[in-house]
Structure formats: C-alpha cells, structure tokens
Symmetry: C2
Subunit: 412 residues, 2 copies
C-alpha cells in the first residue's frame, strides 16, 4: 500500500517529537507499505519568522515573505530525513520545488496548478522514503510560493492524488473529527467516518481539523483522507466519497464560527441591480460574503443584510458606506458580536423536519435566530455571540450526537 | 560600476543590523552603481541549526545536513530583500540554486563547478538588486550543497568573476587584513593592499579574514577583493594581482595557527616507499599533512615527523600506529601542544637573509624552533604552543610591521 502521511507543526515541534514521528514511520514501513511523508514547520517556528519580518517591514512583499516562510518546513524535512536514515531507512528531503509542486503566482495563498511527481516516484522505486516540505511550491519562473494557512494538508492530499496513493493520513494533536469542538461541547464524540461534502461544510463552517481547499481537492480527486492523532492510537476519522453507514443520522456534526460580523444596509431602493452593485464592489476587494437576507419591500425600499469575516469589518464598512451614498440608502448597521452555528449531515438529504428541529432546539433555550442559511446538507444560524456556545451544545444534544444515535430512527 | 557586496553573519545578526546593511546598499545605489548582494546566515543561526541536528542524530548525512543548513542564508536573503523594497529599491532574493551556482556532490564542502548568472543578469537589467544566499549551490540533480565554512566569501567572489564585476567587497566585523591578529599583537596595523599570493598564504596559515578557496578563486579569475568593516568607515584592504607598492617590505604580515599537532614516527626502515605508504594512508582518510622532516639516516633507520590539524589527532594516531606495525618501526610520538607561526610577504622573493632574521628573532627570545617550512613568500616555524604568541610579536617587531617600514631598506 502507498500512503501519504502528513505531520502537523505540533507533531514535529521538537527534535524528540521528530524522533517519535520517525519511529512511527518505521513501523508502517516494516509492515511492507510505502510512505511519502509531508511535514509542517516545527511548532511555532513560522511565527518566529513572521516576527523577524515584522521587526523590519510593515508590509513585506508577498514573494519575499514566501521565500522567508518556506524555510520553516525545509528545516523539518532535513531533520526528519536524517533521523530516518539513522534508523536505517533510506530517506531524502524534498522542497516543494524538488517534489514537483507547481503553483500560481498568488504569493501567500498560491493554488497548486500541477504536480510532476517524477522525482518522488523515482525515489520510491529506489526504496527511498521521500520527506516533502508542506505548504509550498514553485512558480513557472522558479519563485517559491506558499499555499496559505493549513497548506500542508493540501500538499499531502494533492501528492496523494498525483501518486495514486491508497490513502492520505493527516496526523495532528487531535484524534480526528468530532461531532462538535470538545472544548465547547464536552460530550462531543469522535466520528469514524464522514463524506467529503460533510467535511467540506464542517471545515468551511469553522472546524479547524482540515483546510477547506484540501478537502475540496480530495473530493475532486477521490483521495481517501484519514485524520488522526500522532501520539495516541485512537481510530481517527476516515473521509471519503461513499457513505459507509447504511442509514445515516440526520446530523453528523455541529460547528461554530465566532469570527463573523453582520452588515445591514437599511432603506435602499427596491430596484434591479442594487444587490449586484453592492456584492461586486465587495468581491473586487476580496471580501467574501456568506448568508444574505433581503427583506420584503415596503414603500419601494428594502433592507439587505449579510455576514462577513470579522477581520474584513474595517474595509467592508468604508466600501458599504460608499455604496450607501451611491444608492441613496438610509443607514449602515454593523454588528460584530455575532456567531454562526451550523448543523451538518448528509443524512438530512430527503429528511424533512431537520431544520425545524434545529430552530426548536434554539427556541427552547431562548436563543434568537438572526439569520438563517442552508445548503442541502447544512443548516446555519446567526445568533448573538454570547449565546453561540450554548446553542451549539443544545443542537448537539437535540440530535443525540453524544451517543451518535440517529434520532430520526430513535427519537428521544 | 558593478559591485558584489558580501555581508557576513555578524553584519546581519539582527533585524536592525539588516536594516543598517540595507541603508548602506541604498547609498551605493544612489551613486549610480549596480550591486549584487551576497549574505550569510544571521549571527549564530547556523549554530542553532547544527544543535537541532545534533539533538537528533550523531552523524547526519551530508545531503540532509546541507538541506538543513542552507535555510539560514535563505532567511537573511528574504529579510534583506523585503527591507530594500520597503526603502523603494526593487530587490529580489535568490537561493544559490536560483542564482545559478552549480556545485559538485561533496556535501558540506562542495566545489563550485559552474555559474549560470542568467537570472541575475536579467534582474540587474530590469533595475532589480539581487540578494543572493551565500554558502550554497545546487548539484546536477537538484540537491542543495554547501561550500563549507566561510563559503559565502567564495559565493561572492565567484559571482563577481561570473558577472565581470568591477570589485568584490567583503564586509565583516574587522576592518580588513592586519599585519598580525590585533588580539595577539596589539600594535598590528591594517594593510591597505596585498597580493593574492600573500593573502593565500595568510589565509592558509590561520588568518581568518577570508576563506582560502575564495582567495584562490579570486586569483584564478582576477577578481579584485576589497575587505572592510560593515559598520565603520575605515579604508580596508584591497587584494589584487599587481603589487601596488614599488619596493615591498620583505614581510607583509605574520600569522599564527594554534591548532597544530606534531606526529613523529621513530626508527622506521630507511628504504624507498616508506613515506609514500605513510602519507597515502593518511590522504585516503582525508587527513592533510603539512610540514615534513625526515632525519638523516643512521643504522638504516629513519625518523619521520610531520604536522597535522589538531582535530585529526585521534584518527591519525590509530592510522600511524597501524603503519608502525607494518613498517616494524620503534615508536609513535605525538605532541599536540605546538603551534605554527608564519611570516609572509611577496617582498621576500629574491631577498636573501629573511629566513635568518626570522630565526634570529625567535632565538633572541629563547624560543626553540622544532620544524621549519618555507614557500617562496612564506617562512613557517613550529614552536611550543606556549611560546607562539610571544614569537609572533617578536617577528612582527623584527620586521618593523607596526610602522610598515621596510627593514631591508632601513635596518633598525
């Protein structure tokens, strides 16, 4: 079996962590498997590099910031490769460039455009275990470009796709994907399996186990992901296309995103093109909008509300206020003290009444729902930030996730 | 004018040092010159990387050690390039590989085999100041290889040669080359100019201003070197082919190497091939020998003595003891408490009596000379280590180096 194994920053934080990881890889190899290893930078070493840059320059150029940050992962690859060799395992470190990962020129958030894994294949054929630097690739003109936060997940999954690996194992300091964040919902339990779509919704709704782009890549290339703990032997979570459980529960997991703000434009004309103007201005400035509500028109005037990432508030405020002037609207209202809680499950496909049960769980706890957004397998509610954790626990409980009981089949 | 400017580790030790260096480069550019910058790793950051490796592995593989160590210089290039850009100077960082520095596979002490400076030329033509990582290059198969201690000097001088630069400026925390190490001989004075041959002898006799291989490369490619202080405006030392002073003093500078050991083989047969056997065994194990004395034979038996680097003593001892058995010799004697002091000057070419004056200076101070070695422009003596610093000062004094007076012309 060919496995790609990715070890995150906390798994390689110190030389002794790296030695542990090397032993783990040795065990897998001794069972006759082939492994391609992908590593992140050691612990907080990336933060240290960012500090150096910030001590010099307020806004560093993207190219140079990437040239700086890529070194963190390079250090880990060399150290892990030399440790493997000391254990008698032929191994070799690869930078993103050496591993054939070709990216766009979007420094700091580059896209993988293609992968040429010829050197990795050659190493594997020669019995050498490649140790690849995550988070980075190379542009057509040889510049190093990084893939953005969590980019090592994407490196691992993309390599697994390019190499037709049997599985991509993502090791971190958590034991897989839980029904909710265990720091918020103490009786959350780990999930043994998830579909790509569920994981995508979870990742984009604030669960930080896997990078969204990485999961999307896995879905597009049918890469089976196994998320698990580096230093504990729990089973972890498998993420793949096919639902493994015959009858799935309506809700698989719940997620929370506390970094949300709500923007309202009050009293804008109810005429075609208003929403298009507003949202195209925001898109041009790279601000993502999520849930949108347009109120029922009265006196030919409308209210429009939408949610954005908290950190975009300062830029969004000035852009929206300019739109207000253009549109002769009445007021801009921004509430940056809201949060989004979501219930996710591919089991809700074709099951009526799931949304109603989410809303009832919140109503029973006197939590007011400010906005609602849904997809085929997700129900999201914007609530006051102070109510969000309680609301999350209520939904988790209402769907019996602590025991993973399908409450449609077995209502409490 | 096209200048290559190299800044050593102490010149880029902190972000504020890097900011100073950026301003220095800005001044040179503002005078209409073009600059290619070469940098070392920040301060003791290379030692930190070595510590990480040593915490994991006793003897790391050369390839992985180089993959690890190269990151130190990469960090400096990115930081300096982003600082230059902030000052409004178009700049770009280059790894050794990006700069087109192609090396042999001798990891840890690779030779530069060729330089393809096309990307550097392109950057210069576009008005961009390249900032190149010293100490490293890339093998034919894309592995990073480092050039050994002091290798950034070699990077700078080789690039100056490949780019036909007008001059290669080597900046460090010392104000150029002195007549002797000022920490040992307080009245040592800086030299304004030196020939390549003098600098080569000085560098290989223990003066640590410039790497020997770098000076040899400069000589071979007629690169003018200017060694000077980063943060002080002293004139520094120019190193080039032509003697600039019409009548040169007999001795230009003196040097000391305290890391020498003397090895003696007593009572080996006086027959052909004995020395060849001994020295080929040592060469096979990478041990350099320097001065050699063979005593006058008596009873068909000989004594052979030679000097080696102190750190090679443990390995040399066992090899020489094996040879002793093969040769049926009588004893091996090793003295690791000696030092080598040297007087160097291209002015001694064709001047008789210089060696005699060196020996007399030592004899007048009751310093016993154990071994003697000479080249056309150098006289070296092995003395007891405890006498070495005093001997160095005596020679420095005997040739009037404190005032740079040519004592042949004007004897004291």
């Amino acid at each position: 079996m060919l496995l790609v194994q990715k070890f995150g920053g906390s798994s390689v934080a110190t030389p002794s962590h790296i030695a542990e990881v090397a032993k783990k890889i040795q065990q897998v190899l001794s069972r006759g498997h082939q492994v391609v290893v992908v590593v992140s930078a050691m612990g907080d070493s990336t933060d240290h590099l960012v500090d150096l840059a910030e001590a010099l320059v307020a806004i560093p150029s993207g190219r140079e910031m990437d040239a700086l940050l890529c070194t963190g992962e390079l250090v880990t690859t060399a150290l892990l490769a030399m440790k493997l060799e000391q254990l008698g395992i032929p191994a070799r470190s690869f930078s993103g460039s050496q591993a054939g990962i070709h990216t766009s020129y979007d420094f700091g958030r580059a896209r993988i455009e293609s992968i040429d894994p010829a050197l990795l294949r050659k190493a594997l054929a020669a019995g050498i275990t490649p140790v690849v630097a995550g988070f980075q690739g190379v542009t057509a003109t040889g510049d190093v470009a990084t893939l953005g936060r969590g980019g090592s997940d994407l490196t691992a999954i993309a390599l697994a796709g390019a190499l037709n690996a049997d599985r991509c194992e993502i090791y971190s300091d958590v034991a897989g994907v839980y029904t909710a964040d265990p720091r918020i919902v103490p009786d959350a339990v780990p999930l043994s399996c998830l579909s790509y779509d569920e994981m995508l919704e979870l990742a984009s709704q604030g669960a930080q186990v896997l990078q969204t782009q990485a999961v999307a890549y896995a879905k597009g290339n049918q890469v089976v992901i196994h998320a698990r703990s580096t230093f504990h032997d729990e089973p972890g979570t498998q993420i793949e296309a096919e639902p493994v459980i015959p009858v799935k529960p309506a809700v698989t997991a719940v997620a929370i995103n506390r970094h949300v703000a709500k923007v309202g434009l009050l009293g804008v004309p109810d005429s075609p093109g208003v929403a298009a103007l507003l949202f195209s201005v925001l898109a041009e400035h790279g601000i993502n909008i999520e849930l949108v509500i347009q109120s029922v028109s009265h006196d030919n005037l409308n209210d429009i509300a939408f949610t954005i990432d908290e950190q975009d508030v300062p830029r969004a405020r000035s852009l929206v206020e300019q739109c207000l002037v253009t549109l002769h609207g009445k007021a801009v209202v921004i509430d940056d003290k809201v949060a989004k809680i979501s219930a996710i499950g591919s089991g809700m496909l074709g099951q009526p009444g799931v949304a109603a049960r989410v809303f009832k769980a919140l109503a029973d706890s006197d939590i007011n729902i400010q906005m609602i957004g849904t997809s085929e397998i997700k129900i999201s509610c914007i609530v006051a930030r102070q109510d969000a954790e309680k609301g999350l626990a209520e939904i988790h409980n209402a769907f019996g996730l602590n025991g993973l009981v399908d409450v449609i089949e077995d209502p409490q």
